[in-house]
């Protein structure tokens, strides 16, 4: 029988007066101890550096748009990730090489895109930008080089306005690696990283500045939620909960339309407007590529929610993880570009959702490895004639993967 009932008889005796002070104090002490010890444990298990990769980037330059700071080096360690170096060359690209003319006899791919393409939160040598040329060279026998011009928050309109930068590198092919956030402009403005000047303050001053920002903008309940979300305990808890793909999908689908509208079979007016803006920018980009005679290949890199749903093979009614992929294909091919489909191949990968940081959301090293395998397979399958796998052994090895 429940202990509450057993004890009810005993509790009929009025508790001593000291309990009116003692019990709330015990309760308060428990809250403090529990919160403090959990936060300490979380900070030990999920350490973070005060600096970020974004410190080497400028996002608000009205002339160039988002760009890397030339010849800069930054370090970061996000709670879920490993120590990562961001080294930018004299052109402000995280390319792993200097900018300049391509070496003779090289098939040069210039990659444009945003945070997934640049390999945010992952050491460069683990990114698909570094792994893909090696794999393509192996499969095609060509000497393939990939020059990475991607930069976070460099949205399609900025890419269209500065497309000459991509053409300057004299590419044999341009790979535009998109992800759902690239058609997601409004919320991205809201999550632009805090300036380094704020992050360089002392812990107390930072906390004060942080709380001031939170409580100034929202209701009390929403502010408390936001304040909790910024603790390391929240990161740790969410990390463990989001390791479950079903829970991650459930939580993601609870987000507002601005963030997950692209997954809906019936998209909102806002999303349709965004897609028509994307259509306009894609048309400008493709026209410039065509005029320069450079093939443009576009791919939508799946995010964690799409990967999780596709691997489970089930999603709620009114949701379609392939929806955006189909829309991208339709837009890109309507302007004469080449679109390669990665999403349908995701179902052949065991646990693809493990290829992402559960809370932070970017692909991790495993995810970049997955992208490399899928992209290499698609690019050498004949979608890009110059990269078609040539020998039967190469084809066989491709099939075995």
């Amino acid at each position: 029988m429940d202990l509450t009932l057993v004890d009810e008889a005993k509790r009929k005796v009025r508790p001593p007066k000291r309990d009116w002070i003692l019990l709330p104090l015990i309760s308060l002490l428990t809250v403090c101890l529990l919160a403090g010890s959990t936060e300490l444990l979380a900070r030990r298990l999920f350490p973070e550096m005060a600096t970020e990769g974004e410190d080497c980037m400028i996002f608000t330059d009205p002339v160039s748009g988002a760009r890397g700071i030339p010849n800069s080096v930054c370090w970061e360690k996000i709670p879920e990730g490993e120590l990562t170096e961001y080294q930018f060359n004299r052109c402000g690209h995280r390319a792993g090489m200097e900018c300049g003319p391509k070496p003779p006899g090289t098939f040069r791919i210039v990659m444009i895109g945003t945070s997934f393409a640049i390999g945010m939160r992952v050491p460069r040598e683990q990114t698909f930008a570094a792994l893909l040329p090696v794999e393509l060279s192996r499969r095609t026998g060509l000497k393939v080089q990939l020059y990475n011009e991607a930069i976070p928050f460099k949205l399609p309109d900025t890419i269209a306005a500065h497309f000459d930068e991509a053409l300057e590198a004299k590419p044999d092919m341009i790979l535009w690696a998109l992800n759902s956030s690239d058609i997601h402009t409004q919320s991205q403005v809201a999550v632009l990283p805090a300036p380094a000047s704020v992050r360089n303050l002392s812990l107390l001053m930072r906390l004060r500045s942080h709380l001031k920002t939170i409580f100034a903008a929202k209701s009390f309940a929403a502010s408390v939620t936001a304040a909790f979300s910024s603790t390391r305990s929240a990161t740790m808890l969410s990390h463990f909960l989001y390791e479950s793909r079903s829970q991650y999908v459930k939580s993601t689908l609870m987000e507002d339309d601005d963030k997950v509208g692209y997954l809906k079979t019936e998209q909102s007016e806002g999303w349709q407007k965004r897609l028509s803006e994307f259509d306009r920018d894609a048309a400008r980009i493709e026209a410039q590529a065509k005029a320069a005679g450079v093939p443009l290949v576009v791919v939508l890199l799946p995010n964690r929610a799409q990967a999780a749903m596709i691997s489970m093979g089930q999603w709620p009614p009114g949701i379609d993880p392939y929806k955006l992929d189909e829309q991208m294909r339709s837009i890109i091919t309507s302007h004469g570009g080449t679109y390669i489909d990665m999403l349908t191949d995701v179902r052949t990968i065991p646990d693809p959702q493990l290829g992402y940081f559960p809370v932070e959301g970017h692909p991790n090293g495993r995810g970049h490895g997955m992208f490399t395998a899928l992209l290499a397979s698609e690019l050498t399958s004949g979608a890009v004639p110059a990269l078609k796998a040539t020998s039967p052994s190469q084809t066989a090895s491709k099939q075995s993967e």
Partner: protein
């Protein structure tokens, strides 16, 4: 507003009602508050009053029958019971009835099952005690619409309800009792919003592994089936008993005692014992109104002493088959009923067989043996988990689950799960007993109010943090749909 679950809105509503209810101890005031609160609660659940019409009709129909029986219209009980059962089955759209006779516009059926049990109870009791008790319309509505028991029970006897609700001197409510109820509410929130949610994640992920198109290596498949088998009983317990904890505590804060619905069911060492501890108010109801009358009738008609024990076995089957069928309208629940009733009957036969083979004394000795009880506990848990496949999954899912493994693998996973459950449950029993035996200042340490304050605060913080981190509505209460 999510009022049909263990949400913070429901909790605030309940606490607010309890506060207002305690302004006066008079029965009239408390009844008025409960009636208004229950009507408001119903309004919050169904903002469009039109959808409530069938439910209101069912209530009126029940009341009219009750008045007839109370006025001594003899012979009307059987027709009343049959009529009530038919209207219930019709409103719940049981699939064995032709589709065309159903109402086709959407309507509200939440709470209907529990009203059904309460109405039948009133009708049967009125017949047994003619002229002794008159249930007025207000008392009838209070009893049936009480917002604390409306969604998922517990099913309270009318006399117990009336004794608490209409007492001139209601049960005492001091600071100690309030503290205990608040602790119970926190525990309920933790069970529903944290424990049940975690077990549901485990089950959903395990099922998605079995059903994914990519083939799963055999060890992972066995593990997924093991998780499916063991996670759902724990989920269901946390989900249902957590909600019951909350409503019992809220009612107690309104000076109303509700019956307990759970008594540590997984410590039961047999199916027979389990159903004395799981959804107790439902099984007690069915024992009172199905098992006992059926057994008496059969014993009157079949006078062979040799057959007498077997009549009990048969009555157990019928009673627990009905429990299974009550849970849902589809054929899956018929199988659930057959398995539940079958399990109970086999358990009873096992008891009878062993008593006959070993003798009463030796059997009693065996049933007090720790190892025997531990194995029985594990077996009962796994059997319950196995029968629950027909409770939560539809035929296509059941087909997928059963085709995931070969017969040999199934036997292996069932045996392995049984042994693991035996060890885990025995360890839990031992740990619990050990913790409760710790004393300080000549008192049990962990049940002292100081330790319980720490425990309740910790559970409350964890519930709050998990709810905030997930940013999701409170999980649905499984039993609300039955």
């Amino acid at each position: 507003m999510t009022m049909d679950t263990a949400s913070f809105q429901f909790l605030l509503f309940g606490l607010g009602v309890a506060l207002i209810s305690n302004i006066s101890r008079s029965s009239a005031w408390r009844s008025a508050v409960l009636l208004v609160a229950s009507i408001v609660f119903l309004g919050l659940l169904a903002p469009n009053p039109i959808v409530l019409l069938p439910l209101i009709g069912f209530l009126l129909f029940g009341f009219a029958e009750l008045v007839l029986i109370e006025r001594g219209w003899s012979g009307s009980l059987a027709w009343s019971v049959l009529g009530t059962v038919f209207v219930y089955v019709w409103l719940k759209k049981y699939t064995f009835l032709p589709e065309k006779i159903f109402l086709h516009s959407p309507y509200f059926t939440l709470g209907l099952s529990y009203i059904f049990f309460r109405v039948l109870h009133l009708l049967i009791e009125a017949k047994d005690r003619p002229g002794q008790r008159q249930v007025g319309v207000v008392a009838y509505l209070l009893y049936n619409l009480n917002f604390t028991t409306f969604i998922s029970g517990p099913i309270q006897r009318y006399d117990d309800f009336a004794e608490g609700q209409f007492a001139a001197d209601p049960v005492a409510l001091g600071p100690g009792v309030i503290g205990l109820q608040l602790e119970r509410i926190v525990r309920g929130l933790f069970k529903v919003n944290v424990l049940a949610m975690l077990f549901d994640i485990v089950r959903t992920d395990a099922y998605s592994r079995i059903s994914q198109s990519l083939p799963l290596p055999p060890p992972l498949k066995l593990y997924a089936v093991f998780l499916l088998l063991t996670s759902y009983p724990l989920f269901l317990y946390a989900n249902f008993s957590g909600y019951i904890d909350i409503v019992i505590a809220l009612a107690r804060l309104m000076r109303l005692r509700l019956p307990e619905n759970f008594d540590r069911p997984f410590s039961a060492s047999s199916a027979l014992d389990f159903w004395n501890r799981w959804h107790m108010t439902l099984s007690n109801w069915l024992k009172a109104y199905v098992y006992n009358p059926l057994l008496l009738t059969l014993m009157r008609r079949i006078s062979s002493p040799g057959l007498e024990p077997l009549l009990g076995v048969f009555c157990f089957f019928v009673t627990f088959f009905l429990i299974g069928v009550w849970h849902g309208r589809t054929t899956e629940f018929v199988v659930f009923g057959v398995l539940t009733g079958g399990g109970m009957s086999i358990n009873k036969l096992w008891q009878l067989g062993l008593t006959r083979a070993m003798g009463r004394k030796s059997y009693k000795k065996l049933s007090n043996n720790d190892l025997y009880n531990a194995l029985g506990r594990g077996l009962n848990f796994i059997w319950f988990g196995f029968t629950l496949f027909w409770f939560w999954a539809d035929w296509s899912r059941i087909d997928r689950i059963f085709h995931a493994l070969s017969l040999g693998q199934w036997l292996g996973v069932l045996t392995g799960s049984w042994l693991l459950a035996t060890v885990a449950l025995a360890s839990w029993e031992w740990l619990r007993a050990a913790l409760l035996s710790i004393t300080a200042f000549q008192q049990p340490l962990l049940t002292s109010r100081y330790a319980r304050t720490v425990y309740a605060t910790a559970l409350g913080i964890v519930s709050l943090v998990v709810t905030t981190a997930l940013n999701q509505p409170a999980p649905a209460i499984v039993y609300k749909v039955f």
